[in-house]
Symmetry: D3
Subunit: 291 residues, 6 copies
């Protein structure tokens, strides 16, 4: 009798890798995965397309991905074109009304580009800001230093009903970090904060944060993983995680503390980083477990 036709090493390898995905697909079926999209991945065309692809695949295998994005570099570009100079206090952009207009317009454009990329990859994405369906209620962020950040907001509450309506219809929500006050005032909010809080309110299984580093690093640049909120406190106390690393993981840590089962700070420069993180046993950065 004939030898099996496809007993090629390539076929065996493909079968092995697909089969490796099974337990992850089972584990995260029907679960919400919030992905913070940012950093270089937002400006490299190939990485962006990979990212859109990954999100569509997660949706197809039964998870509910929710994407949150920022727009730092694009906002900077536009301000420059318009002859405005960005001013920062404690790492946050001072946002006067004119700047806010520009922030809103740029985030709107970035949002629709991402929506379109996901649609091109075969998904059905819908772009949202915190205004749509009154998703994000915000208030003015007040600094203890009394410096005025202008229209920079912090989150007061989240009403997830528009996200739920879209998920029921099979759509992938893509969220720009704009919120509104009770009186209709618009606020610019840090995208990490929005991703973390959304993950918490949506009882997400995972929060995946794309960065431009391999993950959380110790003072010597060595990757740390398998962390918990408690262990991080410990490492900070011991000086293993230096202060400069901390802001990167602030809202991720909050999410882990408030019930999001696992938070991943991963290297957005790796092609298909999200897919590797969620569907393989190939770690791509730092894992923080809720406990």
């Amino acid at each position: 009798m004939n030898a099996p036709y496809s007993h090629s090493p390539e076929a065996a390898e493909k079968a092995r890798i697909l089969a490796e995905a099974l337990p992850y697909i089972q584990l995260f079926h029907g679960k919400t995965i919030v992905v913070k999209f940012g950093g270089n991945a937002m400006t490299d065309e190939a990485l962006k397309e990979n990212f859109a692809y990954d999100v569509v695949l997660l949706k197809l295998v039964g998870m509910n991905p929710v994407v949150v994005h920022g727009g730092g570099p694009q906002i900077e570009d536009m301000l420059t074109r318009l002859g405005k100079k960005g001013e920062f206090v404690q790492g946050m952009r001072v946002t006067d009304n004119e700047t806010l207009d520009i922030v809103e317009m740029v985030l709107g454009k970035v949002n629709k580009e991402l929506v379109e990329l996901i649609n091109q990859a075969g998904g059905k994405a819908v772009g949202l800001t915190g205004q749509d369906g009154s998703l994000i209620r915000a208030k003015k962020m007040l600094l203890s230093s009394k410096e005025d950040l202008g229209q920079v907001g912090e989150i007061e509450s989240i009403d997830p009903s528009v996200i739920e309506a879209l998920e029921k219809g099979g759509f992938i929500p893509v969220v720009a970090p704009i919120g509104t006050g009770a009186d209709g005032t618009t606020y610019n909010i840090n995208a990490d904060l929005v991703a973390g809080k959304l993950a918490e309110i949506l009882k997400a299984e995972k929060l995946v944060v794309l960065t431009n580093t391999p993950g959380v690093l110790d003072k010597n640049g060595k990757l740390l993983t398998g962390l918990t909120p408690r262990k991080i406190d410990d490492l900070v106390a011991k000086g293993v995680i230096s202060g400069g690393m901390l802001p990167k993981i602030g809202s991720a840590l909050d999410a882990a503390r408030n019930g999001v089962k696992s938070v991943h700070i991963i290297d957005g420069r790796v092609p298909h980083a999200v897919l590797l993180e969620v569907l393989t046993d190939q770690g791509v950065g730092t894992l923080i477990r809720s406990k």
Copy 2:
């Protein structure tokens, strides 16, 4: 025995007007009403708030309003600020890639402002462009004159599923007139065209178009109403409707021809014009019946 307490003329008047609304509410219950929002009503704060109010009231009494808006004046403003000069061919803005970027950003901002106004009036609005949920598939508009309009599109098809998902969730869709080609290219589309086509695809009961005139006027400035597609052809042939009036009603006429039961071209400068048109026997412009 005591005289009735509230037999005041004011009460009687209120009761009469509310009661007058009943047959309209019955007639249009569960029906879709597409409203094209534009003209002065978009720049006058009080008129904008009235408009938001009207849309929320229609939703509450059981209709399904869908809002489509343009952004002409705001786009003009921004182009001027950026030192660009608009160029027009056959009344349509020539849209190079840089202009398209600006159009998208401005429409995005206008969209969210309208969403926020409706939310402030107690509704639950969600802003969309034709990209969201692949709502509007477009293609490049080609002129017989061979002049190149750049990224100006015409509608190829409409997939209403995102609007249906939002309506099922009780949300009011607010649509900006952007579409995408099969390859993901973005197109700027005339808002009247989008409103007319959406009304057709959604099998709307009514298309209400807000303008800056009292409606369709004859050569002497007299308002015409009670029209049908056939009567309009006749009036044009007879020269009663002069050429200058026709472009205003082009897509409205198409909608009437394609099954939208009634099209209203109304005076957006009248406060609560939509409410008066839909819920009272007070005509506010020109009515075109499908037959």
Copy 3:
């Protein structure tokens, strides 16, 4: 350019009044409103038609009206025609078996007339007695004075499932105040008691009671409003509300005490009194809040 077409004072007034209704429609959307229909409004043809109109409008704008009616004058008429003389103890009609037969027949006829009026106004009404779907379980009312009222009942329990089935189908229930005992015996029940108890069991937002007075009056005939159960106790103790006024509000007070958010005792002689009360800021009588 032309002046706005409909900037007439009349249009402005209409728009203002319709817009005034919006917050009430929002507030009471999906809420149950029990209306006790009685007094002159039941015998004046124009008032009856107005009432039917009001009920249909409430239904259309998203509320769930439930109508309860009595039939005092019509019962008296029929007894007179049949040569029977009504006998009363403590204000309640002594109801022997023959009288009960007549009460049932007259209430049945009144019920269907009201159903028909509502249908003519464009609603879909269904008449019920407490027998239908075992809606009202009753027992014989026993007086401490030991006098026998015959087949006069008090309410033991209410099974709202038939009302729920009809509301799910879009129908307006119209209830005649007849109940049955565990053994199938029929009882005549006071319509105010039925309205109050139904409002309580259905967790109604409002109980609206139509009377022939402007509302609850003090000793000098001045209208009292903004009451609470506690304030009423106080006014009675102080003699401001005289004893003669109290029976009028007995079951309304009970409803307010048992969770019905607001009870309105209004002047049924005012045309469209229900509409004015529910949809305008025009008060039409006495408001009793649950607290």
Copy 4:
């Protein structure tokens, strides 16, 4: 080993009869059975209770019984008490407005009694007239002889939505034969006509008509069964069914002609006649098949 405990003849007989019901329960599961209740069965207390019992059992085993009743004897009684004398033209009661009032009141009372009996037997019945939910639209019956029957109506159309809403809620509809005109006028309709037409509109599996005879008899008083519309025409032509028998089966014949699969004219004097007809192979009268 012990002899089987319950091998008594009585147990065997019970088992046999219950088992005999199986194929009928299977056959009519989920099907609508319209039952015209009338004749002696309406005045004999034991027969009435049996009837209520039968209806509840049909409902429980999965069928959808709909009861239609008349009220001839009870109307006659009341007219006599009120000193009015019934007048008949072509077997139909001339119905002036006063008579119509009485007909409505009496039918209402009969209706509620039947509702109560079914409730006492463990069912959940709801009484309806053709006014409820605009069930029966009627018009004045005009005789070719030009004699005026007053408010006697014939059926124009039936809107079964109220019956469907009640069946969805598990209720048994009990219908009194009153209809209304487009203008709200009330008409007295023959109960056989209502039963036949309802059976047709509800696509009933069976129409069961209770009478005071053993069924359809030939000239010699012999019971006829296994009929079809065609065979009946034939028997009438041959004079086997005499003219006096025909009016009894008029509307039954119409129902059979219009798609009701089987019509049964059965002897209402037999206890549990409905149960025997539907659940056993014991024929209780005349069967007319649609073809």
Copy 5:
């Protein structure tokens, strides 16, 4: 007028017996009835057909029968044919791997025969073992005597979701007593244990156990009934129920202790024993109430 046609004694008797079933059908409507099928009833063709008939009838009148069967005699037959000799410890069959193979195959065949009989009677049955849908999780039964029973299992847990899915589709589940361990090992389980535990987990109204005796008998062979767990303890203590009778009712007693409202140990040799027990007031054995 004619005498009623079917006033025959036979008709009256049929009507009486059918009417007698009404309260039982009402009482058990929508309730789960677990039936343990076993003993002679499994080998006598007529009794088997009767049994299938009874199960279909219960389903049709609105109950949810679940059948559990054993296969003792059929297994014995097959072992004999294969030249294997059964070995028993404490009344349980020692089950080596080869025996287990045979047990599974025979139970599979018995299961499908029963499924087919129910289908022939007009039902829609689906056969299951504890493997299907992971219905029964089992573990090795360990004797205190340390003797090894081989692959005999006891129940660790039950996942009723496959039964629920089938009932939603209108199917009758027929369960063979096989379970699996966490590692996939197959176990042979006593059918009485499975029936009792299923009744408990499914919150069954009744557990009906068919045996070859008239029920639970005292030392003199007299049938005992109206028992409770407490009364049984008492009777055993007093020696009224001899030890030999106890194993017969072990799992039945457990079910009664764990919330199954009534347990019936009935004589499977009586034709239609299940029907008589559930739908008539004809007792067919021993009733044990949960309290």
Copy 6:
């Protein structure tokens, strides 16, 4: 800044292969895939486990796999153990009643083993024969040669309702090829026939048949693929496909002719052959398209 952490070739390969699966998952989402399980794959433990794994993965990514299996080798084994000798006519096993008993028992055992393997892989499988839910109605297969095959059947009709109920509950149906006649007689049916017919009735997207060859081969042992029913006819006419190959693809060809979009005859000896076929662009045998 740090180099991306996981830019390893292995990660890139994994990402590439997972991403390759996306279009297949999209294409076959919600579609039914019938898999005929047979040949060596049924007797090699590792291949069996791989197969179970593949089926669970297809289910998880949103497809509806339905498994059909035969049992040839296992039946042969058992017959030998019981001292019976298989007899074949035209390649089909002559099946007397005793043989049928054994076929049923063996298929039942094979069925449950497969169910258990799928459950162990994390799926929820339920085993069925054509008797369950009256899935397969069969009749005796009659040969033109008049030789009697005994209880060998062919398919008369399929009632897929049990499969639909199980799929609604998230279960994977595993079907053994047994059918029943109208009179309840059991028939042994060829598993390929059952798989083909099920694929047709369930409007399956794909029928995947596992064999022990690399696929359909030409006379020189070269694999043929990209076939259509028409091309096969042609190849047979030309003698390219020799007669000996044809029976292998008979029912597959029928399925392709009757609307199953693609039929795959694949090499069951390749590990994870099903996964490779459905989720990669790695062909594993012969593809027959419906047109």
